[in-house]
Amino acid sequence: MTTTSPLSGNPGVSDRERLAAGDLAELYAAHRLSLVRLAILLVDDQASAEDVVQDAFAHLAGRLHQLRDRHAALGYLRTSVVNGSRSALRRRRTARGYVPPRDVEPPGPDDRAVLAEEHREVLAALDTLAPRQREVLVLRYWSGLSEAEIAEACGISRGSVKSTASRALDVLETTLKEQSR
């Protein structure tokens, strides 16, 4: 099994090659699916994930001229998706605080229902983590990013990446043990 996703790949473009407007369409075609998948792992519903990714591309379109290469653009998109997902989760938490529970759609259970039981357990345990812990684990174990890349995407230091991942795995393990009792 590989832990590398298309998001971690080297685009194979020279570092000094500048982006042209037409590159956005190529980036969109090449990476939209991977980014939506990343967002789904963070927000757990497709509609929100697609919105987050579309916003990320819209932000990129506004500053395409500032980025030197595709690799930078991909890093920018990834950071935007992580930030956008975090914002979506915060909005959702805020909404839960003010709206009666029956008005809030629980995200994603139908999609998960078709997964194997062992995967559902892990994803349920993942739901209990703090958003930043979840981000770090998703970026490490699905996106296959390095600590430096995770630090960049999450806006935290490399040391925090390591400690956050370690604590998140501890919590995950404890939760899974409790679930199995």
């Binding site: 500048r18 497709q46 697609e50 395409l64 914002s87 994803l123 993942l126």
Partner: protein, 449 residues
Amino acid sequence: MNALETRLAEALHARADQLDTPDLTPGTPPAVVTPLHRRRPVVAGVAALALVAAAAVVAVAVSGSDPVGSTRQQDPGIATQSTSAVAPPVDPSVDDEITGADGRFEETDLGYVDPGTPVTTSDGWTGVVSTDSTTLTVTSDQGETWTADLEVAQDGSPNRLAGAQLDFGQAGAGWLVRYGDEYAELTLFNLRSDRLVAATVTGGVPFGDGFTEGDAGYRTWLNGTILRTRVAVGAPDEQRYDVYHWELTGPGEGGEQPDSDVVDLVPVKDGTFCLDGAAGTAIRCAPGTVLQPEDEVGAAEAGTPTTFADGSVGDLVPTGGGFDLQITVDGVPLRTSIPRVSQPALDTRMLRIGDALGYLVREESGDSTAFKVFVISGGDLVLATVTGDVPFGNGYTEESARFRTYPAGGGTALYTEVFGDAIGDGPPVAVYSWDLDAPQAELRPVLVG
């Protein structure tokens, strides 16, 4: 990868793989936005000048902020050809790499340690958070101990002590404790009057990592030996931040005064910068600010009182050796001298930048114009200090690159454009907007394009 990690990775891939391209809602890439006020250079020579001009901006600030003093009285045409001839070949993309603050805010690891792990300073003092996260204990090199209580996060996440040594000069060492995991709060402890005291954060600037009530993200980090906090301003994707550094109130100068028990963390604003997501590396700001057209403003010479929109009256008063600016507010005259002017003129429209009001005095000298902005601060009329590395007024940098400053938007904005050459008929290589802080009597540049 251990069994748990493998299981996690497989679950994540299984969930992600549920979605494939046909499942996506049809979408199209957004339209690309091209800023109107910046264009790429058309020839390498102009790009080279852009680099020279950018360097010159720094050079001006180092040598003095008075634009008149840095003015070159050369023939601009000669200067242009000369600079172009000696400049090395430059990558045409260089125009996108002007940051104004490269490396200035880079992050230094705070080195948080878990509860129970002691941190020892270079002078032999030790700090440790108890294993149950409820106390911080500091022990001197002589064996004396001080203890402070800590709050414990509801989710049980531990309090961690920063391993990096924080020195606040006369206020002494700081012991930084991080509380919680997600949006971390920080508490700085300082030994004062034989007690370990939690510093009070003042100035309305958040301390830690999280989001303000207005949903602005903030983050506190160590930059070398300086503790800084950045608070997002503008749209979230602009990566534009107000940056502050923290000072700790000390026990007071002079040996005869008793130690003050006040332990306040005081934020000092360094300016507004664009920073990348993780480390504090500066990047070029997005052109989020749409430049407004230059105001056409009248100017009054000495002896011609001007009544401003808020009812205050301004006048330039000759004093024999120079001039004073006098502003009369509600019948109360405030007066201050204007340094180094011989024929000043007072703009007949005042500046209203944010909450701050200012009065702009200009003096032309050849092809340069010195700008001086006065504010009312603490009940006095004060000349605002120009901070940062950006020229102010109209003139030429030491490398003969032209710069110009102008009020816009009915006095609600003040911009400085720095051009790539002495002629200045092409697009500027950098545009700055000035923040006016009346209480601090400071003008601070913000790179906007």
